[in-house]
Protein backbone atom coordinates (compact mmCIF):
# COMPACT_ATOMS: atom_id res chain seq x y z
CA UNK A 1 0.00 0.00 0.00
CA UNK A 2 1.57 3.30 -1.12
CA UNK A 3 1.00 6.43 0.98
CA UNK A 4 1.72 10.04 0.10
CA UNK A 5 1.52 12.83 2.65
CA UNK A 6 -0.71 15.70 1.50
CA UNK A 7 -0.80 17.83 4.65
CA UNK A 8 0.98 17.68 8.00
CA UNK A 9 0.23 19.46 11.30
CA UNK A 10 2.06 22.71 10.57
CA UNK A 11 0.60 23.15 7.13
CA UNK A 12 -2.84 22.12 8.34
CA UNK A 13 -2.82 24.84 11.01
CA UNK A 14 -1.96 27.43 8.37
CA UNK A 15 -4.74 26.12 6.13
CA UNK A 16 -7.31 26.19 8.92
CA UNK A 17 -6.32 29.73 9.93
CA UNK A 18 -6.83 30.77 6.32
CA UNK A 19 -10.24 29.06 6.20
CA UNK A 20 -11.29 30.83 9.41
CA UNK A 21 -10.25 34.18 7.94
CA UNK A 22 -12.33 33.47 4.84
CA UNK A 23 -15.30 32.60 7.02
CA UNK A 24 -14.96 35.82 9.00
CA UNK A 25 -14.67 37.77 5.75
CA UNK A 26 -18.06 36.50 4.62
CA UNK A 27 -19.69 36.43 8.07
CA UNK A 28 -18.15 39.46 9.82
CA UNK A 29 -19.98 39.15 13.14
CA UNK A 30 -21.39 35.59 12.92
CA UNK A 31 -24.62 37.16 14.14
CA UNK A 32 -26.95 34.85 12.24
CA UNK A 33 -24.57 32.04 11.34
CA UNK A 34 -24.36 28.50 12.73
CA UNK A 35 -21.80 25.73 12.20
CA UNK A 36 -22.79 22.13 11.55
CA UNK A 37 -20.25 19.32 11.36
CA UNK A 38 -21.08 16.22 9.34
CA UNK A 39 -20.86 12.86 11.12
CA UNK A 40 -18.68 11.03 11.52
CA UNK A 41 -15.47 12.62 10.26
CA UNK A 42 -16.42 16.27 9.92
CA UNK A 43 -17.04 16.64 13.64
CA UNK A 44 -13.50 17.03 14.84
CA UNK A 45 -12.78 19.58 12.13
CA UNK A 46 -15.96 21.51 12.92
CA UNK A 47 -15.05 21.62 16.62
CA UNK A 48 -11.58 22.85 15.83
CA UNK A 49 -12.76 25.60 13.48
CA UNK A 50 -15.46 26.54 15.97
CA UNK A 51 -12.83 26.82 18.71
CA UNK A 52 -10.66 29.09 16.54
CA UNK A 53 -13.59 31.30 15.55
CA UNK A 54 -14.84 31.66 19.11
CA UNK A 55 -11.32 32.59 20.22
CA UNK A 56 -10.84 35.27 17.57
CA UNK A 57 -14.38 36.71 17.61
CA UNK A 58 -14.87 36.30 21.38
CA UNK A 59 -18.50 35.32 21.06
CA UNK A 60 -20.69 32.26 21.21
CA UNK A 61 -21.38 30.54 17.89
CA UNK A 62 -23.91 27.68 17.75
CA UNK A 63 -22.32 24.34 16.84
CA UNK A 64 -24.21 21.19 15.85
CA UNK A 65 -23.54 17.68 14.61
CA UNK A 66 -25.54 16.19 11.77
CA UNK A 67 -25.73 12.55 10.75
CA UNK A 68 -27.09 11.89 7.28
CA UNK A 69 -27.16 8.08 7.40
CA UNK A 70 -30.96 7.80 7.22
CA UNK A 71 -31.02 10.10 4.20
CA UNK A 72 -28.39 8.27 2.13
CA UNK A 73 -29.35 7.14 -1.37
CA UNK A 74 -27.44 3.84 -1.19
CA UNK A 75 -29.63 2.17 1.46
CA UNK A 76 -30.46 -1.37 0.29
CA UNK A 77 -27.86 -0.94 -2.47
CA UNK A 78 -25.10 -2.03 -0.16
CA UNK A 79 -24.96 -5.32 1.68
CA UNK A 80 -25.07 -3.96 5.20
CA UNK A 81 -26.96 -0.92 6.45
CA UNK A 82 -24.67 1.96 7.38
CA UNK A 83 -24.38 2.60 11.08
CA UNK A 84 -25.68 5.94 12.22
CA UNK A 85 -23.94 8.37 14.56
CA UNK A 86 -25.37 10.95 16.89
CA UNK A 87 -27.22 13.97 15.54
CA UNK A 88 -27.21 16.95 17.85
CA UNK A 89 -28.62 20.17 16.47
CA UNK A 90 -29.79 21.98 19.62
CA UNK A 91 -31.07 25.03 17.72
CA UNK A 92 -33.48 25.76 14.88
CA UNK A 93 -31.79 26.67 11.60
CA UNK A 94 -34.87 28.48 10.29
CA UNK A 95 -33.65 31.71 8.66
CA UNK A 96 -30.03 31.06 9.67
CA UNK A 97 -26.87 30.97 7.57
CA UNK A 98 -25.46 27.46 7.88
CA UNK A 99 -21.85 26.43 7.33
CA UNK A 100 -21.61 22.69 6.76
CA UNK A 101 -18.20 21.21 7.51
CA UNK A 102 -16.77 17.88 6.34
CA UNK A 103 -13.28 16.50 5.90
CA UNK A 104 -13.29 15.24 2.31
CA UNK A 105 -15.54 16.11 -0.62
CA UNK A 106 -15.61 13.18 -3.02
CA UNK A 107 -18.76 12.11 -4.90
CA UNK A 108 -20.96 14.73 -3.24
CA UNK A 109 -23.53 12.14 -2.15
CA UNK A 110 -22.93 12.63 1.57
CA UNK A 111 -23.45 16.37 1.16
CA UNK A 112 -26.66 15.77 -0.78
CA UNK A 113 -27.94 13.52 2.03
CA UNK A 114 -26.84 16.09 4.61
CA UNK A 115 -28.75 18.87 2.84
CA UNK A 116 -31.85 16.65 3.03
CA UNK A 117 -31.27 15.78 6.68
CA UNK A 118 -30.69 19.43 7.55
CA UNK A 119 -34.09 20.51 6.29
CA UNK A 120 -35.68 18.63 9.22
CA UNK A 121 -34.43 21.44 11.45
CA UNK A 122 -35.88 24.31 9.45
CA UNK A 123 -35.35 26.31 6.24
CA UNK A 124 -31.98 28.05 6.32
CA UNK A 125 -31.46 31.41 4.65
CA UNK A 126 -28.22 30.21 3.09
CA UNK A 127 -26.05 27.10 3.20
CA UNK A 128 -22.32 27.01 2.57
CA UNK A 129 -19.94 24.07 2.48
CA UNK A 130 -16.43 23.95 3.92
CA UNK A 131 -14.17 20.97 3.25
CA UNK A 132 -10.57 20.31 4.12
CA UNK A 133 -9.82 18.27 1.01
CA UNK A 134 -11.62 18.62 -2.32
CA UNK A 135 -10.97 15.65 -4.59
CA UNK A 136 -11.09 17.16 -8.05
CA UNK A 137 -13.13 15.68 -10.89
CA UNK A 138 -14.68 12.90 -8.81
CA UNK A 139 -18.11 14.46 -8.30
CA UNK A 140 -21.22 12.43 -9.18
CA UNK A 141 -23.58 15.28 -8.34
CA UNK A 142 -23.50 19.02 -9.10
CA UNK A 143 -22.13 20.00 -5.69
CA UNK A 144 -19.21 22.33 -4.97
CA UNK A 145 -17.57 23.60 -1.81
CA UNK A 146 -17.42 27.32 -0.91
CA UNK A 147 -14.32 27.03 1.25
CA UNK A 148 -11.60 24.52 0.39
CA UNK A 149 -8.49 23.70 2.37
CA UNK A 150 -6.70 21.87 -0.37
CA UNK A 151 -7.50 20.61 -3.86
CA UNK A 152 -6.16 17.16 -4.63
CA UNK A 153 -6.06 15.32 -7.93
CA UNK A 154 -7.03 11.73 -7.26
CA UNK A 155 -7.99 8.54 -9.04
CA UNK A 156 -11.07 6.50 -8.12
CA UNK A 157 -8.72 3.78 -6.94
CA UNK A 158 -7.16 6.14 -4.40
CA UNK A 159 -8.37 7.10 -0.97
CA UNK A 160 -7.80 10.16 1.19
CA UNK A 161 -7.09 9.32 4.81
CA UNK A 162 -7.50 12.10 7.35
CA UNK A 163 -5.82 11.43 10.69
CA UNK A 164 -6.56 14.19 13.19
CA UNK A 165 -5.63 13.92 16.84
CA UNK A 166 -6.85 15.79 19.85
CA UNK A 167 -3.57 17.45 20.91
CA UNK A 168 -3.26 19.12 17.47
CA UNK A 169 0.33 17.95 17.08
CA UNK A 170 0.24 14.84 14.94
CA UNK A 171 -2.24 15.54 12.19
CA UNK A 172 -1.58 13.76 8.93
CA UNK A 173 -3.54 13.68 5.75
CA UNK A 174 -2.57 10.94 3.34
CA UNK A 175 -3.32 9.96 -0.21
CA UNK A 176 -3.45 6.17 -0.35
CA UNK A 177 -3.32 3.83 -3.32
CA UNK A 178 -5.71 0.95 -2.78
CA UNK A 179 -4.25 -2.40 -3.84
Amino acid sequence: MQKKLILDSDLLTVTLDRLCQELIENHPDFENTVIIGLQPRGIFLAEWIHEKLVASLKKDIPLGYLDATFHRDDFRRREIPAKASETKVPFLIEGKKVILIDDVLYTGRTVRAALDAMIAFGRPEKVELLVLIDRKRTRELPIAADYVGNYVNTLDSQRVLVELDSDHKHHKIWLINKD
Binding site: H71, P81, K83, T87, A120
Partner: protein
Amino acid sequence: MSRLSQPHLLGIKNITPDDIELIFETADNFKEVINRPIKKVPSLRDVSIANIFFENSTRTRLSFELAQKRLSADVINFSASTSSVKKGETLLDTVNNILAMKVDMIVMRHASVGAPHFLSKHIKANIINAGDGTHEHPTQALLDAYSIREKLKTVKGKKVAIIGDILHSRVALSNIFALKKLGAEVMVCGPPTLLPKFISKLGVKVEWDLQKALAWCDVANVLRIQLERQQIKYFPSLREYSLYYGITKKILDQLKKEIVVMHPGPINRGVELSSDAADSSHAIILDQVENGVAIRMAVMYLLAGATA
Protein backbone atom coordinates in the same frame (compact mmCIF):
# COMPACT_ATOMS: atom_id res chain seq x y z
CA MET B 1 -21.57 -0.88 9.66
CA SER B 2 -23.28 -3.84 11.19
CA ARG B 3 -26.15 -6.16 10.66
CA LEU B 4 -28.41 -8.48 12.60
CA SER B 5 -27.55 -12.17 12.67
CA GLN B 6 -31.02 -13.07 11.34
CA PRO B 7 -33.10 -12.00 8.33
CA HIS B 8 -36.23 -12.10 10.53
CA LEU B 9 -37.21 -11.12 14.05
CA LEU B 10 -39.17 -14.17 15.14
CA GLY B 11 -38.31 -14.15 18.82
CA ILE B 12 -35.71 -13.00 21.30
CA LYS B 13 -34.67 -16.64 21.72
CA ASN B 14 -33.16 -16.64 18.19
CA ILE B 15 -31.10 -13.45 18.43
CA THR B 16 -27.79 -12.67 20.11
CA PRO B 17 -26.86 -10.11 22.78
CA ASP B 18 -24.91 -8.27 20.05
CA ASP B 19 -28.08 -8.06 17.96
CA ILE B 20 -29.91 -6.53 20.91
CA GLU B 21 -27.12 -4.01 21.49
CA LEU B 22 -27.12 -3.06 17.79
CA ILE B 23 -30.89 -2.55 17.87
CA PHE B 24 -30.55 -0.36 20.99
CA GLU B 25 -27.80 1.79 19.46
CA THR B 26 -29.82 2.24 16.28
CA ALA B 27 -32.92 3.05 18.35
CA ASP B 28 -30.96 5.81 20.12
CA ASN B 29 -30.54 7.49 16.72
CA PHE B 30 -34.19 7.03 15.82
CA LYS B 31 -35.31 8.38 19.17
CA GLU B 32 -33.46 11.57 18.27
CA VAL B 33 -35.16 11.53 14.85
CA ILE B 34 -38.69 11.27 16.28
CA ASN B 35 -38.02 14.23 18.56
CA ARG B 36 -37.03 16.51 15.66
CA PRO B 37 -39.29 19.25 14.31
CA ILE B 38 -39.69 17.06 11.21
CA LYS B 39 -39.86 13.46 12.31
CA LYS B 40 -39.61 11.64 9.02
CA VAL B 41 -36.54 10.17 7.30
CA PRO B 42 -36.50 8.67 3.79
CA SER B 43 -34.58 5.45 4.61
CA LEU B 44 -37.27 2.91 3.73
CA ARG B 45 -38.54 4.70 0.65
CA ASP B 46 -39.69 2.05 -1.83
CA VAL B 47 -39.92 -0.66 0.83
CA SER B 48 -43.42 -2.09 1.19
CA ILE B 49 -44.50 -3.52 4.50
CA ALA B 50 -47.69 -5.44 5.27
CA ASN B 51 -49.07 -5.43 8.80
CA ILE B 52 -51.04 -8.63 9.14
CA PHE B 53 -52.98 -8.88 12.37
CA PHE B 54 -54.96 -12.04 13.03
CA GLU B 55 -55.49 -10.88 16.62
CA ASN B 56 -56.61 -7.54 18.00
CA SER B 57 -54.08 -4.88 18.84
CA THR B 58 -54.09 -1.13 19.33
CA ARG B 59 -50.70 -0.12 20.61
CA THR B 60 -48.51 -2.54 18.70
CA ARG B 61 -50.21 -1.98 15.34
CA LEU B 62 -50.23 1.80 15.71
CA SER B 63 -46.64 1.77 16.88
CA PHE B 64 -45.51 -0.34 13.92
CA GLU B 65 -47.48 1.76 11.48
CA LEU B 66 -46.13 5.02 12.84
CA ALA B 67 -42.58 3.61 12.77
CA GLN B 68 -43.07 2.56 9.15
CA LYS B 69 -44.41 5.93 8.15
CA ARG B 70 -41.58 7.79 9.91
CA LEU B 71 -39.20 5.64 7.83
CA SER B 72 -41.15 6.51 4.64
CA ALA B 73 -42.11 2.89 3.92
CA ASP B 74 -45.29 2.04 2.02
CA VAL B 75 -47.71 0.40 4.41
CA ILE B 76 -50.68 -1.88 3.92
CA ASN B 77 -52.80 -3.03 6.81
CA PHE B 78 -54.75 -6.21 7.05
CA SER B 79 -56.85 -7.50 9.85
CA ALA B 80 -58.28 -10.98 9.85
CA SER B 81 -61.77 -10.01 10.89
CA THR B 82 -62.38 -8.15 7.61
CA SER B 83 -60.57 -10.53 5.26
CA SER B 84 -60.94 -13.69 3.23
CA VAL B 85 -59.55 -15.67 6.16
CA LYS B 86 -63.18 -15.79 7.19
CA LYS B 87 -63.89 -17.54 3.89
CA GLY B 88 -61.44 -20.32 4.69
CA GLU B 89 -58.15 -19.19 3.13
CA THR B 90 -54.99 -20.69 4.69
CA LEU B 91 -52.27 -18.56 6.28
CA LEU B 92 -49.72 -19.41 3.59
CA ASP B 93 -52.15 -18.61 0.77
CA THR B 94 -53.09 -15.32 2.37
CA VAL B 95 -49.46 -14.29 2.79
CA ASN B 96 -48.40 -15.49 -0.67
CA ASN B 97 -51.16 -13.40 -2.18
CA ILE B 98 -49.90 -10.36 -0.33
CA LEU B 99 -46.32 -11.08 -1.39
CA ALA B 100 -47.41 -11.42 -5.04
CA MET B 101 -48.17 -7.72 -4.81
CA LYS B 102 -44.42 -7.17 -4.19
CA VAL B 103 -44.29 -6.70 -0.45
CA ASP B 104 -40.82 -6.78 1.16
CA MET B 105 -41.60 -7.22 4.83
CA ILE B 106 -44.37 -8.80 6.90
CA VAL B 107 -45.28 -7.76 10.43
CA MET B 108 -47.57 -10.44 11.80
CA ARG B 109 -49.58 -11.11 14.92
CA HIS B 110 -51.23 -14.49 15.16
CA ALA B 111 -53.04 -16.44 17.86
CA SER B 112 -51.11 -19.63 17.06
CA VAL B 113 -47.71 -20.25 18.59
CA GLY B 114 -45.01 -20.54 15.90
CA ALA B 115 -47.06 -19.03 13.07
CA PRO B 116 -44.30 -16.56 12.05
CA HIS B 117 -41.65 -19.31 12.34
CA PHE B 118 -43.72 -21.48 9.99
CA LEU B 119 -44.08 -18.58 7.58
CA SER B 120 -40.34 -17.83 7.60
CA LYS B 121 -39.64 -21.33 6.24
CA HIS B 122 -41.89 -20.79 3.23
CA ILE B 123 -41.52 -17.20 2.08
CA LYS B 124 -38.69 -14.85 1.18
CA ALA B 125 -39.82 -11.58 2.78
CA ASN B 126 -38.45 -10.40 6.16
CA ILE B 127 -40.82 -11.35 8.96
CA ILE B 128 -41.31 -9.57 12.25
CA ASN B 129 -43.26 -11.35 14.93
CA ALA B 130 -45.68 -8.91 16.55
CA GLY B 131 -46.90 -11.59 18.95
CA ASP B 132 -47.65 -15.28 18.40
CA GLY B 133 -50.17 -16.69 20.85
CA THR B 134 -48.68 -17.21 24.31
CA HIS B 135 -45.16 -17.61 22.89
CA GLU B 136 -43.12 -14.47 22.05
CA HIS B 137 -43.54 -10.74 21.49
CA PRO B 138 -39.98 -9.70 20.69
CA THR B 139 -40.40 -5.98 19.95
CA GLN B 140 -42.21 -5.53 23.29
CA ALA B 141 -39.33 -7.18 25.15
CA LEU B 142 -36.82 -5.01 23.28
CA LEU B 143 -38.64 -1.81 24.12
CA ASP B 144 -39.04 -2.91 27.75
CA ALA B 145 -35.32 -3.63 28.11
CA TYR B 146 -34.51 -0.41 26.22
CA SER B 147 -36.70 1.57 28.63
CA ILE B 148 -34.91 -0.01 31.61
CA ARG B 149 -31.54 0.86 30.01
CA GLU B 150 -32.73 4.42 29.49
CA LYS B 151 -34.04 4.81 33.05
CA LEU B 152 -31.33 2.95 34.97
CA LYS B 153 -28.40 3.46 32.52
CA THR B 154 -27.87 -0.28 32.14
CA VAL B 155 -29.77 -3.56 32.20
CA LYS B 156 -26.86 -5.68 33.38
CA GLY B 157 -27.10 -6.64 37.04
CA LYS B 158 -30.53 -5.08 37.54
CA LYS B 159 -33.24 -7.06 39.29
CA VAL B 160 -36.45 -7.28 37.32
CA ALA B 161 -39.64 -8.88 38.63
CA ILE B 162 -42.31 -9.84 36.11
CA ILE B 163 -45.59 -9.91 37.97
CA GLY B 164 -48.96 -11.37 37.05
CA ASP B 165 -50.25 -13.80 34.44
CA ILE B 166 -46.97 -15.41 33.35
CA LEU B 167 -48.70 -18.53 31.98
CA HIS B 168 -50.55 -16.77 29.18
CA SER B 169 -48.03 -14.02 28.54
CA ARG B 170 -45.84 -13.79 25.44
CA VAL B 171 -44.46 -10.57 26.89
CA ALA B 172 -43.16 -12.47 29.92
CA LEU B 173 -41.32 -15.12 27.89
CA SER B 174 -39.70 -12.62 25.49
CA ASN B 175 -38.78 -10.40 28.43
CA ILE B 176 -37.13 -13.29 30.25
CA PHE B 177 -35.01 -14.14 27.19
CA ALA B 178 -34.06 -10.51 26.55
CA LEU B 179 -33.24 -9.64 30.17
CA LYS B 180 -31.20 -12.81 30.70
CA LYS B 181 -29.23 -12.13 27.49
CA LEU B 182 -28.46 -8.63 28.74
CA GLY B 183 -27.29 -9.91 32.14
CA ALA B 184 -30.21 -8.93 34.38
CA GLU B 185 -31.58 -11.02 37.22
CA VAL B 186 -35.17 -12.05 36.61
CA MET B 187 -37.95 -13.12 38.95
CA VAL B 188 -41.49 -14.11 38.08
CA CYS B 189 -44.24 -13.52 40.59
CA GLY B 190 -47.90 -14.50 40.56
CA PRO B 191 -50.38 -17.00 41.89
CA PRO B 192 -49.05 -20.57 41.46
CA THR B 193 -51.80 -21.39 38.97
CA LEU B 194 -50.57 -18.63 36.63
CA LEU B 195 -46.89 -19.64 36.76
CA PRO B 196 -45.75 -22.29 34.24
CA LYS B 197 -44.62 -25.45 36.03
CA PHE B 198 -41.04 -25.53 34.72
CA ILE B 199 -40.43 -21.79 34.43
CA SER B 200 -37.44 -21.94 36.82
CA LYS B 201 -35.59 -23.98 34.16
CA LEU B 202 -35.18 -20.71 32.28
CA GLY B 203 -32.98 -19.49 35.11
CA VAL B 204 -35.50 -17.22 36.79
CA LYS B 205 -36.46 -16.94 40.43
CA VAL B 206 -40.05 -17.86 41.32
CA GLU B 207 -41.98 -16.01 44.03
CA TRP B 208 -45.62 -16.23 45.09
CA ASP B 209 -45.56 -13.33 47.51
CA LEU B 210 -45.92 -9.89 45.89
CA GLN B 211 -44.40 -8.04 48.87
CA LYS B 212 -41.24 -10.13 48.74
CA ALA B 213 -40.95 -9.68 44.99
CA LEU B 214 -41.30 -5.90 45.26
CA ALA B 215 -38.81 -5.74 48.11
CA TRP B 216 -36.28 -7.63 45.94
CA CYS B 217 -36.57 -5.88 42.61
CA ASP B 218 -35.37 -2.63 40.96
CA VAL B 219 -37.99 -2.89 38.25
CA ALA B 220 -41.52 -4.32 38.44
CA ASN B 221 -42.94 -5.22 35.05
CA VAL B 222 -46.64 -5.73 35.71
CA LEU B 223 -48.70 -7.84 33.30
CA ARG B 224 -52.38 -7.91 32.56
CA ILE B 225 -54.60 -10.84 33.49
CA GLN B 226 -55.43 -12.29 30.08
CA LEU B 227 -59.00 -13.39 30.71
CA GLU B 228 -59.55 -13.92 26.97
CA ARG B 229 -56.96 -16.72 26.94
CA GLN B 230 -58.13 -18.40 30.15
CA GLN B 231 -60.36 -21.37 29.39
CA ILE B 232 -60.71 -22.38 33.04
CA LYS B 233 -60.73 -20.54 36.36
CA TYR B 234 -57.20 -19.94 37.62
CA PHE B 235 -58.21 -17.88 40.67
CA PRO B 236 -61.49 -17.35 42.54
CA SER B 237 -62.23 -13.79 41.46
CA LEU B 238 -60.62 -10.67 40.00
CA ARG B 239 -61.24 -8.95 43.31
CA GLU B 240 -59.29 -11.59 45.17
CA TYR B 241 -56.47 -11.43 42.60
CA SER B 242 -56.36 -7.67 43.03
CA LEU B 243 -56.19 -7.98 46.82
CA TYR B 244 -53.15 -10.27 46.66
CA TYR B 245 -51.36 -9.13 43.50
CA GLY B 246 -52.68 -5.64 42.76
CA ILE B 247 -50.04 -2.91 43.08
CA THR B 248 -51.12 0.40 44.61
CA LYS B 249 -49.32 3.67 45.29
CA LYS B 250 -49.50 2.88 49.00
CA ILE B 251 -47.60 -0.40 48.53
CA LEU B 252 -44.96 1.35 46.41
CA ASP B 253 -44.52 4.17 48.92
CA GLN B 254 -44.11 1.72 51.79
CA LEU B 255 -41.09 0.18 50.02
CA LYS B 256 -39.07 3.33 50.74
CA LYS B 257 -36.82 2.80 47.71
CA GLU B 258 -36.56 3.73 44.05
CA ILE B 259 -38.62 1.33 42.02
CA VAL B 260 -39.53 1.48 38.35
CA VAL B 261 -43.00 0.29 37.40
CA MET B 262 -43.65 -0.88 33.86
CA HIS B 263 -46.69 -2.24 32.09
CA PRO B 264 -46.93 -3.38 28.45
CA GLY B 265 -50.57 -2.27 28.25
CA PRO B 266 -53.47 -2.38 28.05
CA ILE B 267 -53.83 -1.73 31.79
CA ASN B 268 -56.81 -3.05 33.68
CA ARG B 269 -56.89 -0.21 36.16
CA GLY B 270 -57.81 -1.43 39.61
CA VAL B 271 -56.90 -5.04 38.89
CA GLU B 272 -53.13 -5.53 38.50
CA LEU B 273 -52.30 -1.83 38.91
CA SER B 274 -54.29 0.85 40.71
CA SER B 275 -54.84 4.18 39.02
CA ASP B 276 -52.67 6.10 41.47
CA ALA B 277 -49.81 3.64 40.95
CA ALA B 278 -50.12 3.71 37.15
CA ASP B 279 -50.03 7.51 37.14
CA SER B 280 -47.31 7.83 39.80
CA SER B 281 -43.75 9.01 39.22
CA HIS B 282 -42.55 5.40 39.51
CA ALA B 283 -44.33 4.44 36.30
CA ILE B 284 -42.56 4.72 32.92
CA ILE B 285 -45.49 3.29 30.99
CA LEU B 286 -45.75 6.15 28.50
CA ASP B 287 -41.97 6.21 27.99
CA GLN B 288 -42.30 2.57 26.98
CA VAL B 289 -44.81 3.56 24.32
CA GLU B 290 -42.54 6.30 22.95
CA ASN B 291 -39.55 3.96 22.93
CA GLY B 292 -41.66 1.37 21.12
CA VAL B 293 -41.69 3.50 17.97
CA ALA B 294 -37.90 4.02 18.05
CA ILE B 295 -37.23 0.32 18.67
CA ARG B 296 -39.51 -0.75 15.82
CA MET B 297 -37.91 1.79 13.47
CA ALA B 298 -34.50 0.34 14.38
CA VAL B 299 -35.61 -3.27 13.80
CA MET B 300 -37.19 -2.53 10.43
CA TYR B 301 -34.26 -0.36 9.32
CA LEU B 302 -31.74 -3.09 10.17
CA LEU B 303 -33.80 -5.88 8.58
CA ALA B 304 -34.60 -3.93 5.40
CA GLY B 305 -31.02 -2.71 5.00
CA ALA B 306 -29.36 -6.13 5.00
CA THR B 307 -29.95 -7.11 1.39
CA ALA B 308 -27.37 -9.87 1.03
